[in-house]
């Protein structure tokens, strides 16, 4: 189980556990590739598997934060739900799960809460790009690069929710 603090935000504690870490042993990479219609390779590169685990962890935190924001600001539900669906599609594709993820309360101001979601998505977009650039498998590289672009779309969409 890993536990880390996300600095500078009301969403302070993210506890991400077994589902992602245990997946190291099998399946994550293959599942991720099958979801996007690519035949998995027989022996995943360990670095690529770790990259997908990092993607899954960040994604679970993003979705848990969306849920916390909707919980604190029900008026935002209509705007945020469609974006949550997209974020969840990404989570499933990289073999992640929300099972062991928890985050702190969302910021009290709706604008601040959505700004925090933007920050999380932007940070993940950048990290996914870096992992995509160094990926050994061309297919994993494509999945992570595309996910990074999808996260940038989410950042833009959160911006519309805020305005």
């Amino acid at each position: 189980m890993s536990r880390r603090s996300l600095l500078g935000s009301g969403l302070t504690v993210a506890t991400v556990a077994a589902a992602v870490v245990a997946a190291r042993a099998g399946g994550v990479l293959d599942d991720a590739l099958r979801v996007v219609g690519v035949e998995p390779h027989p022996e995943p590169d360990p670095g690529d598997t770790r990259s997908l685990e990092r993607a899954a962890t960040a994604q679970a935190v993003l979705i848990a934060s969306i849920d916390a924001t909707i919980g604190a600001h029900p008026d935002l539900e209509g705007d945020l739900n469609p974006l949550r669906v997209v974020a969840d599609e990404q989570l499933v594709a990289v073999g992640g799960s929300l099972a062991a993820t928890s985050v702190g309360p969302a910021p009290k101001e709706p604008g601040d809460a959505v700004a925090e979601l933007s920050r999380l998505a932007a940070e993940s977009a950048e990290a996914r790009e870096d992992d995509a650039v160094s990926a050994a498998s061309p297919d994993v590289a494509r999945v992570l690069a595309s996910m990074s672009a999808g996260l940038s779309q989410l950042v833009a969409a959160f911006g519309v929710v805020r305005s």
Binding site: Q90, P138, D139, R142, S146, Q153, A157
Partner: protein, 133 residues
């Protein structure tokens, strides 16, 4: 190294995008400023790709004589055509990305992110995996 065929496919789409945004800018007043922005971005990408293909020893593909009969007489038609070309560019960038070295991947990523955001501005929905789904 970045695969030449992948770059050529992307370049072919940039030619089409430059043509399309020229057409939209000329025909649809309501979206002319957005069309100008997109036109400029795709001209830059096209020129960079022309240079990259040339540096890789290839003969850069040129623009097609015609790109079909897509109608762009209204804002709605313009948005549909624009979001379509941006999503096709995104798909070409994803393909380039897989077969490229680190520098090529950074370049493909910039094109991919730009196309994904442009698609959104032109009315495409947010997608989990732009260029893949």
């Amino acid at each position: 190294m970045t695969r030449l065929d992948d770059l050529q496919s992307w370049l072919a789409l940039e030619h089409e995008a430059v043509w399309l945004y020229g057409l939209i800018g000329a025909r649809v007043d309501g979206v002319a400023p957005s069309a100008q922005t997109s036109y400029d971005a795709h001209r830059l990408a096209r020129d960079r790709l022309l240079a990259l293909v040339d540096e890789a020893g290839g003969e850069p593909v040129g623009p097609a004589l015609t790109y079909g009969d897509s109608r762009v007489d209204s804002s709605r038609e313009a948005r549909a055509a624009a979001s379509s070309i941006e999503e096709r560019v995104a798909a070409a960038c994803v393909t380039v990305f897989g077969g490229a070295d680190a520098d090529g991947r950074r370049f493909a990523m910039s094109g991919l992110r730009r196309a994904a955001l442009a698609a959104l501005r032109w009315g495409a929905p947010v997608r989990a995996f732009p260029g893949l789904d």
